[in-house]
Amino acid sequence: MGELDVAQVVALSLYVSITATVLTSLVGLPLGAFLALKRFRGSWLMRTGVYTLFALPSVVVGLVVYTMLSHSGPLGFLDWLWTPIGMVLAESVLIFPLVTGLTMSAVSDVDESVSLTIRTLGASNRQLMMRVMHEARYGIFGAVMVGFGRAISEVGAVWMVGGNIKGSTQVITTAIMQQTQMGDFGTSFALAGILLIIAFVVFFLIREIQERG
């Protein structure tokens, strides 16, 4: 039986999840705040759309991204199938509705009178958005952390797009599945332990920050 490089597997899990979270947040945070604050034609539709996408099954995301990145698919020229960057794409698509939607919630929770005060003091729309996000920062941080937690726990989508290739696209979750299938429970439990530690750190951080907020 080949040796499982635990360090590589954990490092890749963290890399893919962190990168997906960072990329998703860069777009999702301002978008979520914008949708929560601005009423324009169709904004209700977009907000409902984001909340509906919460229910998007991860296998569906995996299947769609896989089909697009396949060499016979529209994005095949990128050569991103069976690669970490392809996995980052799949994870980003997966957690994007979650991060955007939770940011929308957090910003909506900020009292009307806060936006009113900001606007009466002369803020432009952009300044309003930045300040309200600052006021909602604890909730927004929670949104980002939930996104990360979701990303690092994902199995199906990263397996389909990454291929679970030993030494290059294997992550903690897919390694657990594979080792279990092979009957190697020792390694599976060890990896599960590591994943649990990461998960607990993340949710402990969320609670700590929420308490302060």
Binding site: M1, I18, H71, S72, W82, N164, T169, G183
Partner: protein, 280 residues
């Protein structure tokens, strides 16, 4: 507000660095040739054979072989879509139509192992006394003994269906003793153990798990149970991005006498798993 601008800038820089790193490790900046994708089956991968022999290819040709392990059917499908450069599978009928449709450059034999019927040592259906595998299967059906079928697109399942066909039986009409589990070989063996039933397995997987199982081999050595592995480099005419050069080199390497010896030397729990039979 300046603090926020700073934060956004830092995050953007971090994002760019992360993505660049990702592209680098994904081979975006290396020549397309330096990566060879081998599509094969989960049982082949899980036997550990590839972990054992592939380093030799890397040291000879400097190219890392990335193994994507799925069922035989999907492995060939992947190759059709140009998502694999070379295939190592053991599903002769699927491979034949693959070649007929022009997806492979050539097909060479590599090695074989056998399928066997495993079950409880008490052998209630009397499989051990059958004189050929078709009869063995008939006995299981007549006795309504629990039988687990992988019912996926694997080589093992294809073989199982072939035998039911030879026995003149229609698996679609079996009673509840016939269980379609839709799982990989290891899982199926473990379930067979738990339910005290019979199943068809490749010996490679069975020997790997032998120390954890109490079910035993009851029937083997019928010519029908021959499990032939073949290597097929994918035809670039259908998909331009295929790494042809190294795919062909891989095929040549795996049938070379040195590698064939290496394959023969691979053993799990004291049992040789694969028997090289490349044609010279």
């Amino acid at each position: 507000m300046n603090k926020t601008k700073w934060l956004v800038l830092v995050v953007v820089v971090v994002a760019v660095v992360l993505v660049a790193a990702g592209l680098a490790i994904s081979g975006a900046f290396s020549p397309a040739e330096s990566r060879l994708i081998l599509a094969t089956t989960t049982s082949t991968q899980n036997s550990g054979l590839l972990d054992f022999i592939l380093p030799d290819f890397k040291s000879k040709y400097g190219v890392k072989v990335d193994v994507v392990a799925v069922g035989s059917g999907l492995a060939l499908e992947n190759a059709k879509r140009g998502d694999a450069d070379v295939v190592l599978s053991h599903a002769p009928s699927l491979e034949a139509s693959f070649m007929d449709q022009g997806y492979g450059i050539f097909k060479w034999k590599v090695m074989y192992n056998q399928f066997a019927i495993v079950g409880p040592s008490s052998d209630p259906a009397g499989v051990g006394s059958a004189w050929n595998v078709t009869v063995a299967f008939k006995k299981i059906a007549d006795n309504s003994s629990t039988f687990l079928s992988r019912s996926d697109n694997s080589g093992t399942y294809t073989k199982e269906m072939q035998i039911w066909g030879l026995a003149g039986l229609n698996a679609g009409q079996f009673g509840s003793w016939y269980k379609e589990v839709g799982k990989g070989m290891e899982d199926t063996l473990m379930m067979t153990e738990e339910l005290g039933g019979y199943t068809l397995t490749d010996e490679g997987t069975y020997f790997t798990l032998i120390n954890t199982l109490s079910i035993v081999e009851l029937f083997r050595n019928d010519a029908v149970l021959f499990n032939q592995y073949s290597v097929i480099p994918v035809n670039p005419a259908k998909n331009l991005n295929v790494n042809v050069k190294y795919a062909v080199l891989f095929a040549e390497w795996i049938v070379s006498p040195e590698t064939q010896e290496l394959i023969a030397s691979y053993a799990a729990n004291g049992h040789q798993l694969f028997f090289p039979n490349a044609e010279p």
